[in-house]
Structure formats: structure tokens, C-alpha cells
């Protein structure tokens, strides 16, 4: 046992004062009686029969002394060591990923974790070094090696739910590193995940039972003749079948409601037809409250800014024209190579030679360029060979491509570009960005290759155009909460703001590269506002709750993982916390409350004795 604040023992000096007061207090009420004759006999008899009579007469004094001692002892805050008296260091890992927002036993699991962690902190002795880690998408050390309980409790309170995906197992290496620097260390995880402690010494504090939960996992809208066709996928994570009322909203207007019955573990896809396409965004919502509220809404951005204008300058290129026609969200203009270009376009495609001045604004795609220009140098024509695809965002999904190019003009690749297609170590195609202008070059005539005949060609063109004009298909407008939103600023943007669902605007630096926006803790529609002159160009982004945090699925998978882990190293006995288990090895017992309770009992006892003794 140890005294947390031994200074409280100074109050022991009160005891002589108390005794003195008691002695001084011994004032007798003087009463005259006719004769002491009987009283003498009574006292003689009583003294003879009970030797403790003297003590008994002072029972109140002793009780009061006991109360005083208990109070003083309580002030000294004695602390009784429990099992883990060897651990002078404790590492607490609090999971604050999205699933911790779910309701557990008595409230949100994160709150439950906070309460349990608080209990643990309070039960630790004063000298214990405590480290607090929060683990969501990112693992963050909130406090390291502190002995100040107050500080720790404060930062425990400050741990916010993040709604982000994240596995607490990612914290392992950090926790391991922290533990390794101490001689003896105990790790306590507060999480709803079943996790493998591996070689760490510690335990997992399980939180609350799983509540039934239906989540909305996916939403997508496709343009059809009559507006949008919207698809929503939902999953019942609960153990029992349930009915779900799914409402579809366009911005804030209710568009449609569908009722579905979901069996346990079932995933259903619901379609809504003829959804008006004039809404900036749509969202689906489950009207019934369940274990996890955050995944009952899912957002999707439908309408983005105006259609991009693309100018194709070519004699004739049927392959390219067909491929471009599949892109619904661009407006294609055609011109001949010898015609002057007066209008501004978002993308210029120069097929073959072009005599005019190259545009200074807008992105450019060169097909089979005949001469060098300010961007690159064209070399002598070479006999071709099998083309190989280099790894690039544009060449996604083209791993299996197999095509041959009969002849090509190798191009000396500038420093700002990266290769797309190579033939015998020579660059046949590349793409890159310089001074806000994106430039891509294909150094061969499509007619000299079987590339347009392959399956991958339309994908390639689609990716390439998307890359060049920032089509929304490429620029992601769906994020999970907790993820960083990458922002590619417009070259002319002066200021960039992000407006979160609560309407709070955050200014981001407009210098390139822009730091990603990372405060996507709440779900909803975020708007990225780029200020160009007097105009504000807005782009909406939907941030949804990560599917992986929605329910039992992640627990099951991690159970499997944990079991696998067990089999792998076979010595992880220290994992086995059962669901709902309490902290097994609390640091000890703070005797404060017990002492105060005992003091209270003593006061009650004293009162009883007093009323019994002095009842007249």
C-alpha cells in the first residue's frame, strides 16, 4: 500500500486537539437527587459485573476518534496495489475509428472506452508512467510517458470520434516500439475489434455488445434518358432480419422511399429510376435508427460543372473520333490542321502536323507530331516493334495489352513527363504537366498500329482524356470520412476554400502542391471552392462513412486474422478477452471511497449509539 498524498497525514495533529476537546467537553449536567444511596449501589454492582463499562461509557469518543482517523486516512489517499504492481509503465490504446461511434452497452462505444480508461487511470498508482494513443486511420500518440493523471484524463476527453476507417492493429509497431524502451510495460487496448496482441504484454478491453445495424454501403447515379438511375446498396449487419425504409433525397428534397426486408448478413441493392438530374447531390437515408447512425446516410455528387470543350484538329482519324464519341461529358469540336484556332478550349488534340501557334492555355494532346516544338523534340522515324505499357495513371487497366507498332517517331522525353508506351526502350508516348498545362504525346500514327483494334484502346483514350481535362470520373468525388481529399487547383485559382457539411470554411494555401484537406471527420457534402478573379468555382465532394467500419463484418475478419496469428506464433495467450469483459488487472484499488464509506458507516453507528444511550 502506498499513500498518494501523504501530506494528508499532517491532519493527524488534529487528534490531540480532538482528545483535548473531548476532555474539556466532559461537562456534567448537575442534578440534585434526594439520595445517592441507590446510585452508589447501582454503580458498585455494574462495575463489578462489567469491567468494560468504563470503556463502554466512552464508546462515542472512540467512534468519533475512528471517524476522524478514517477521514484523515482518506485525505492521505491510500492506494492498495493489486496484481500488476510490477508495471510502472502502461500504454493505453484507444480506438477512435468509425465503428467506435456505434452504440455499445450503455452509449457510444468510444464513450464507454473513455469511461473504462478513466477507471484504469484512476486505479493506477501515482508513479505510473502512462502513454495514451488514439488509433483510427492514423495512429496518434496523445501523451507519452506522463505521470500526470489530470493531463491524461484531459487528453482522453479530447479524443474525438473520427468516423474513419482504420485498424487498431496498425498501432502495433508503434506500441511495440514504446514498450521496448521500458523494462516492464503493459498495454491496454480499448477497442471493438478482436485483435491479436502478438508478443505484447497486455489485454484488450472489449466494449459493449454489438447492436443491430443496417448500413448503406454504396450509392451511384447513372445518366439515362429520363434523368438518373440511382443504385443504393445496403447491408444488414445484425443477427436478425429487419426491415429498412430507404429514403432518397435530392439535395434536401425527398424524392423516393422504398421499403426492403433484409435478412441477417444480407446485402441488397435498391434501384431508383427517373431521379431528377438537376440536383447537385443526392443522398440515401435509412429512416430507422440503429446501432450505428453514421452509416445510415450515404451521399453522392451527381452534377458537376459545365461540359468540357475539346477541339480535335485532324485530317481524318476514325479510330480517335469513335473513341472520343464514347465520352458523354465532353463537347467535341473538329477542325482541320491548317485552320486558325480562335476560341479557347479545355483540350486541344493535334493529330498529325499543325502549323499554327500552340495555345498557351488549355491542355494539349499531340498525335504523331511531325516536328519538334517548345515542349519536346521529335527524333528520326524508326521501325517499330511490340509496344510495352509503362505504369501510369493513364495506363491503368492496360496490363494485358498486346499490340504492335510498325513505325514511330521516338520523342525525347522532357523532365516533367513520364512515359506511357515504350518500344525497345524508346519513348513512344508520354504525359506530363508543365506550368499548369498538361501535355501528352503519342509518337506514332494510330493507323500504323493494331492498338486501336485492341480492347484496351477505348480505355486508354478514356483515361488519357480524363487525365488531360480533369474529368470527374478521374478526379475522385467520393471519399470516406477520415481520408485526405487531394485537391488539384486550377492554374488560375487565387484562393482555395473547403466548406464542410456544417458550413465552416477552411482556407487552403493555393500554392502548388496544395496540402490535402484532412478534416473529413463528419460525413456529408464538402465543397471545394476555388476563387478565380470574381468567380468562385465550386466542386462538391461526397464524404461517406467507411463501409469497413459498419458492422460485424470487420470484426469477423479480424477474428480470423487473430486466429491466424495465434496459429502462426502459438504463444499469444494474453489475447483472450471475452466480449464485455471488464478490466481484469486494474492497477489497484484506491481506498479513498472505501474509507469515506467506512467513515459514513461509523457516523451512522455513532448516531445509533448516541440515540440508544441517551434516549430518555
Amino acid at each position: 500500500m502506498r499513500l498518494i498524498s501523504p501530506n494528508g497525514l499532517w491532519f493527524l495533529t488534529l487528534i490531540p486537539v480532538f482528545v483535548l476537546m473531548y476532555i474539556l467537553k466532559q461537562r456534567y449536567e448537575e442534578r440534585q437527587v434526594s439520595s445517592l444511596y441507590l446510585w452508589h449501589q447501582v454503580i458498585m454492582e455494574l462495575d463489578a459485573t462489567s469491567p468494560f463499562q468504563r470503556l463502554k461509557r466512552n464508546l462515542l469518543f472512540f467512534l468519533q476518534l475512528l471517524i476522524l482517523l478514517l477521514c484523515i486516512f482518506a485525505l492521505a489517499r491510500p492506494f492498495l496495489w493489486w496484481k500488476n504492481n510490477n508495471y510502472e509503465n502502461i500504454v493505453m490504446v484507444v480506438d477512435n475509428s468509425g465503428s467506435m461511434s456505434a452504440l455499445g452497452g450503455s452509449g457510444k462505444k468510444l464513450d464507454e472506452a473513455r469511461i473504462k480508461a478513466e477507471e484504469l487511470i484512476n486505479s493506477l498508482s501515482s508513479g505510473t508512467r502512462m502513454t495514451l494513443i488514439s488509433a483510427a486511420r492514423n495512429v496518434k500518440v496523445e501523451i507519452s510517458g506522463s505521470t500526470d493523471k489530470k493531463e491524461l484524463l484531459n487528453s482522453l476527453k479530447d479524443i474525438e470520434p473520427t468516423n474513419s476507417a482504420g485498424s487498431i492493429e496498425d498501432a502495433y509497431s508503434l506500441v511495440k516500439a514504446i514498450c521496448d524502451q521500458y523494462e516492464s510495460c503493459k498495454v491496454v487496448y480499448f477497442t471493438d475489434h478482436q485483435l491479436d496482441m502478438k508478443d505484447l504484454n497486455g489485454e484488450v478491453v472489449e466494449l459493449g455488445p454489438e447492436r443491430p445495424n443496417v448500413s448503406l454501403d454504396y450509392i451511384a447515379g447513372t445518366k439515362t434518358g429520363n434523368g438518373l438511375k440511382v443504385m443504393v446498396r445496403m447491408t444488414n449487419h445484425g443477427a436478425e432480419s429487419t426491415d429498412a425504409e430507404l429514403c432518397l433525397y435530392g439535395e434536401e428534397k425527398l424524392i423516393s422511399i422504398k421499403n426492403e426486408v433484409l435478412k441477417s448478413g444480407e446485402t441488397k441493392t435498391v434501384y431508383f429510376d427517373n431521379v431528377p438530374d438537376d440536383n447537385k447531390y443526392i443522398y440515401g437515408e435509412l429512416s430507422k435508427e440503429d446501432g450505428l447512425l453514421e452509416d445510415n446516410r450515404i451521399y453522392s455528387v451527381t452534377k458537376q460543372k459545365e461540359v468540357k470543350k475539346v477541339l480535335l484538329s485532324t485530317q481524318q482519324n476514325i479510330f480517335l473520333e469513335k473513341a472520343l464519341n464514347t465520352l458523354k461529358d465532353i463537347e467535341l469540336f473538329k477542325t482541320l490542321p491548317d485552320e486558325q484556332i480562335n476560341e479557347e478550349f479545355d483540350l486541344y488534340i493535334f493529330d498529325g502536323g499543325y502549323e499554327g501557334k500552340l495555345p498557351e492555355k488549355g491542355n494539349i494532346l499531340f498525335l504523331n507530331p511531325q516536328q519538334s516544338n517548345s515542349f519536346f523534340k521529335v527524333e528520326e522515324e524508326l521501325t517499330g516493334n511490340r509496344g510495352s505499357v509503362a505504369a501510369h495513371a493513364v495506363t491503368k487497366y492496360m496490363n494485358n495489352s498486346d499490340f504492335v507498332i510498325s513505325s514511330f517517331n521516338p520523342i525525347e522525353m522532357p523532365y516533367w513527363a513520364s512515359p506511357l508506351i515504350k518500344i525497345d526502350d524508346k519513348n513512344a508516348a508520354f504525359a506530363g504537366e508543365i506550368k499548369g498545362q498538361k501535355v501528352a504525346v503519342l509518337g506514332f500514327d494510330l493507323h500504323n498500329s493494331d492498338f486501336p483494334l485492341t480492347l484496351e484502346f477505348p480505355i486508354f483514350i478514356n483515361n488519357l482524356i480524363s487525365y488531360l481535362i480533369d474529368r470527374d470520373t478521374m478526379a475522385n468525388n467520393q471519399y470516406n470520412s477520415g481520408e485526405d481529399i487531394d485537391i488539384t487547383p486550377l492554374p488560375e485559382a487565387e484562393k482555395i476554400f473547403v466548406k464542410d457539411p456544417e458550413g465552416k470554411r477552411t482556407e487552403l494555401g493555393s500554392q502548388y502542391p496544395v496540402k490535402p484537406y484532412d478534416k473529413t471527420f463528419s460525413t456529408g457534402i464538402y465543397e471545394i471552392i476555388q476563387k478565380v478573379g470574381d468567380k468562385e468555382i465550386e466542386r462538391a465532394i461526397a464524404v461517406n462513412f467507411p463501409v469497413s467500419e459498419s458492422g460485424s463484418s470487420n470484426i469477423d475478419s479480424s477474428v480470423n486474422k487473430a486466429e491466424d496469428g495465434k496459429e502462426a506464433d502459438g504463444v499469444t495467450e494474453n489475447t483472450g478477452s471475452k466480449p464485455g469483459s471488464m478490466l481484469k488487472n486494474s492497477g489497484g484499488i484506491n481506498l479513498l471511497n472505501i474509507l469515506l464509506f467506512a467513515a459514513l458507516l461509523a457516523i451512522i453507528l455513532e448516531w445509533v449509539v448516541y440515540t440508544r444511550q441517551y434516549r430518555t
Binding site: 449536567e29 444511596y37 447501582v42 441517551y614
Partner: protein
């Protein structure tokens, strides 16, 4: 004494009591009653033949003339009883909300009145500090006021030693002795009883207690002061202590009662807050005084 002992109220009660009650002390010992013992008196009872040794002054010579035989005239002896009342006049008696002393004096008064009414002789004795102050003996109703004056003249002072005081009293003939006291005495009560029995007294012991003595209303830390000796005693009153006190009091009473009974006497206790009627018609009647 604060209150007037023999007030108007007392006389009124005395009147009604004396109408309803007569003293029926045992064996015709009271005066004014026919005694079984034959003696010299004016009231004729019987004749019997002379036997040698008889007082020949009592021979009925007229009967001898008629029957030629010696007859003695027998007369009822009119024996007057001597009622000795010993009243404890220690300081301890002058205690209680309703003073024990007043009650003791009133009882003495009633007994005196009833006795004088019965043509008995009454002798009053005040016991104080081991001494006895004896009145002259009273006879006849007319001396009742004198008796009361004697009672009122004394004060309640000092402590008691019943045995010592009573032994100082010369008891020449048989009679009735009534001792009125709280019996919180230093000397032995047994000694008193034995002495009175030896002097052929019929013994009547009346214990007068006040409410505070019968059921002490004490609590907490008290310093008890003896009214007689000024002695002090510090006590923490507990229920157990009170119970022990009660037991002690009962023990004292049963002890005295048993000793008295052994010598044909009676003992009973009354409370100073009882009414006179209750004492006379219940307590006295129960103990065979009336």
C-alpha cells in the same frame, strides 16, 4: 416548606375520608374497640366462678347473696391503642416536584386523625440526624390541631439514620408503629424492624418516593448531587444503568417487605404524586390498615 401541607383541600379530603374509613388495625388493638381481653372497665361482659388468686375486689357480693357462691364480674377491657408514627424528617424527604415531605406529613395527619377519631392515643416522632423528637401523646379529637402544629413546626434537614433514631425512642407498651420514610438510609432497616418487633409493635412501613426516584428522568452526562450530604457522583446515564437502578429499587423494596413480613408487619410504597384518596382507599385498604 414551600407548600402549605395542611390546607383547606386537605381538610376537605380528611372529612370525606374519615366518614368512609375507619381504622381496623388488627386484633382490636385500636382504642375505642372492644377487646377480647377482659379487664376492669365499666362495660359488663360476664360472670365466672371465683378461683383463688383472683382479685377479690371484683367479687360480686350481690350474686353471692343470691346463690351463696363466689362469682367474679367480668368487664370488657377498653384498651386504647398507642399509635406511634415515625416521620423521617431528613433533607432527602424534602425533595421532588411534589414533595415527599408534604406527602409524608399528610399521611401522618390522616393516620393521626383516624386514630384520634378511634379514641386511640397517638404519639408523633420526627426522626432527624440520628435523633428523635417526640411529641406529647395526643388523645381525643380536640388534640388533632395540636398534633398538626407539632408536625408543621419541624423542618426537613440533615440526613437519616433510621435505626439509630428509632432506637432512641422508648417504647413502653405494645402498640402500632408506623414508619414513614424513603428508606434511603445508612443504618440497617432490618435493625429497625427487629427493634420494633421486640418492643411488641405492630409494624407498618410506608415508603414515600417521588416520581424522579421511581422513574429517574436522566440522560447523558450528569453529576448527581446528594441533597443530604452534598456528595457528588459523575455518571453517564445509559439505559442499562437505568435498568440497574430500577432493579435495585425493586430489590430494596422487596427486601424490606420480606423482613417486615417476617415480623408480621407490612410494607408498601406510595408516590408523592398520588392523590390522598388513592393512597387511603387503595394502598391502606389493600394493606389492611382500614
Amino acid at each position: 416548606m414551600k407548600e402549605k401541607v395542611f390546607d383547606e383541600n386537605f381538610y376537605r379530603k380528611l372529612e370525606s375520608i374519615s366518614i368512609k374509613a375507619r381504622m381496623t388495625l388488627t386484633d382490636g388493638a385500636a382504642g375505642g374497640r372492644k377487646s377480647k381481653a377482659k379487664g376492669s372497665s365499666v362495660e359488663f361482659s360476664d360472670f365466672r366462678e371465683y378461683t383463688p388468686g383472683d382479685d377479690f375486689r371484683r367479687i360480686d357480693w350481690n350474686a353471692y347473696g343470691r346463690f351463696d357462691k363466689l362469682f367474679l364480674r367480668l368487664f370488657m377491657e377498653e384498651r386504647e391503642a398507642l399509635l406511634n408514627i415515625f416521620c423521617d424528617c431528613s433533607k432527602s424527604m424534602d425533595f421532588g416536584e411534589k414533595s415527599k415531605a408534604a406527602m409524608a406529613l399528610r399521611i401522618t395527619g390522616i393516620l393521626t386523625y383516624l386514630a384520634l377519631n378511634n379514641l386511640d392515643r397517638v404519639c408523633l416522632n420526627r426522626l432527624q440526624e440520628g435523633t428523635v423528637v417526640t411529641s406529647s401523646s395526643y388523645m381525643g379529637k380536640s388534640s388533632f390541631q395540636k398534633a398538626l402544629q407539632f408536625l408543621e413546626s419541624g423542618s426537613f434537614m440533615g440526613n437519616t439514620n433510621l435505626a439509630e433514631s428509632i432506637k432512641r425512642k422508648e417504647l413502653k407498651s405494645r402498640g402500632i408503629s408506623v414508619v414513614i420514610s424513603d428508606f434511603f438510609t445508612t443504618g440497617s432497616i432490618d435493625e429497625v424492624i427487629k427493634y420494633l418487633a421486640f418492643k411488641k409493635q405492630q409494624i407498618i412501613l410506608i415508603q414515600v418516593l417521588c416520581e424522579d426516584e421511581l422513574d429517574p428522568r436522566l440522560g447523558g452526562q450528569v453529576r448527581l448531587v446528594d441533597s443530604e450530604t452534598e456528595a457528588e457522583m459523575n455518571l453517564t446515564i445509559t439505559p442499562k444503568l437505568l435498568k440497574a437502578y430500577e432493579a435495585k429499587l425493586r430489590g430494596l423494596q422487596t427486601g424490606i417487605k420480606a423482613s417486615a413480613k417476617k415480623y408480621g408487619g407490612v410494607f408498601f410504597h406510595i408516590s408523592s404524586s398520588d392523590s390522598l384518596e388513592k393512597i387511603v382507599f387503595e394502598d391502606f385498604a389493600r394493606e389492611g390498615l382500614l
